[in-house]
Amino acid sequence: MINPAKRRSVLGWLAAALSALLLAGVMPATADDEHGAHSGHKLIAKGDKCVRDEDYMRRNHMKILMHQRDETMRKGIRGSQDSLKNCIECHVNPKTNSVASSKEDFCMGCHSYAAVKLDCFECHSSKPKAPAVGMNPIVTPEQKSEGNDKQSSLSGKMRWQMQAKQASLNMGEGVK
């Protein structure tokens, strides 16, 4: 989980970086917060840290994905933390159950800002394998994990708890 203090410091750092850029005149003065690639981009994530440094990931995620793509496709090496599926599991937006269905979602947030077309999801599913837990108001996460999801009941429950915590963080903090 991203703890509030760490989150604040990350946001603070990002805000500082953005204002520095603005001062230097690199960014157009009209760049608003909502679409500022980094400052406004909501870090939807379930884990407490990414598989690499965030900064590194912003610049190099495509290289990592490309490398893993060939490992998996050609050699059958699966289950790597660098797999696209793993990214999606962690970065899925609980509201849309996707990483790329709207500008609110993790991938599209940056890609629409940077106007870089994203082809991955023409073939790959932008949704995690298990639907985001807690999406269906009729089935409680407990029922769900006890019922049809025996094998992964614990992880299902844990994931839901993490999501709930994340949601309360989002609500309490706002991302401004």
């Binding site: 496709m73 059958g76 599926k85 073939c123 599913s125 949704k127 992964s152």
Partner: protein
């Protein structure tokens, strides 16, 4: 992560029942060969050659369980245009004119050891994995459809329509050619292909999946014991899918 589940499952099994081959853990979860189960992170190796044996005498006319299971597993559904719908596996009816004896059998990519689809592919997208599974790398496929023409078994299809309901384990989309993957995403988890699982679940027992390189596997023993056929054996493609009873 499912991966952790896999690992702990392997450790548990290894500790508990080391030495027993081919254990059914739960419906659809079969450890084919525990001693040689490939750990996560390790590449597929040519010590294995995955294959399938289909006993057409057990295949009933009208039974479509394998085709249905394939569609469900791989997200291959009708788009409402039957002329161009992709087809990974289909049932075909054979009839001997003289005797009138008929066979109904599933036909799909035969996972040739010498695949013509790989020979003709101009980009290297059509390739054979070390363990004999023939695949299309959609990242590289340009949709030229050469491989469709080269395949003697009509095993490949072109995807004409956009899709957004893929199984996360089975990426597929418009503009590429695709065919049976032998459920590679399941095989990599020590599971059987979906069609084989459905065939056993329906008590038909017509399909057997296993390692052709392992002389002790059920499939190798059956091939060593009974007369089996490669379709169009004259082409000498050394198919991974064999038939019994035709």
């Amino acid at each position: 992560m499912s991966n952790d589940v896999d690992n702990s499952r392997r450790k548990f099994i290894a500790a508990g029942v080391a030495g027993t081959a081919g254990l059914v853990l739960a419906p659809g979860v079969t450890l084919l060969d525990m001693a040689n189960a490939r750990p996560a992170g390790e590449a597929a190796s040519s010590t294995k050659r995955w294959g399938m044996l289909i006993d057409s005498t057990k295949c009933a006319t009208g039974c479509n369980d394998c085709v249905t299971a394939c569609g469900k597993e791989n997200g291959v559904a009708s788009t409402g245009h039957p002329e161009t719908d992709p087809q990974w596996i289909r049932k075909i009816e054979l009839k001997e004119v003289k005797s009138g004896k008929s066979h109904s059998l599933p036909m799909m990519c035969q996972h040739c050891a010498e695949p013509p689809c790989v020979d003709v592919c101009p980009t290297g997208a059509s390739f054979k994995r070390a363990d004999g599974i023939v695949l299309v790398d959609r990242h590289i496929c340009i949709g030229c459809r050469y491989c469709m023409m080269a395949c003697p078994y009509k095993a490949r299809s072109f995807v004409h329509e956009e899709h957004d309901d893929q199984n996360p384990d089975v990426p597929r989309g418009k503009g590429c050619v695709e065919s049976c993957t032998l459920c590679v995403h399941r095989v990599d988890k020590d599971m059987e292909p979906a069609c084989v699982e459905a065939c056993s679940a329906g008590n038909h027992g017509a399909m057997l999946f296993g390692d052709l390189n392992d002389a002790n596997s059920e499939i190798s023993k059956r091939i060593a014991t009974y007369a089996t056929t490669q379709v169009r054996a004259d082409l000498a493609l050394n198919t991974g899918v064999r038939y019994q009873g035709i």
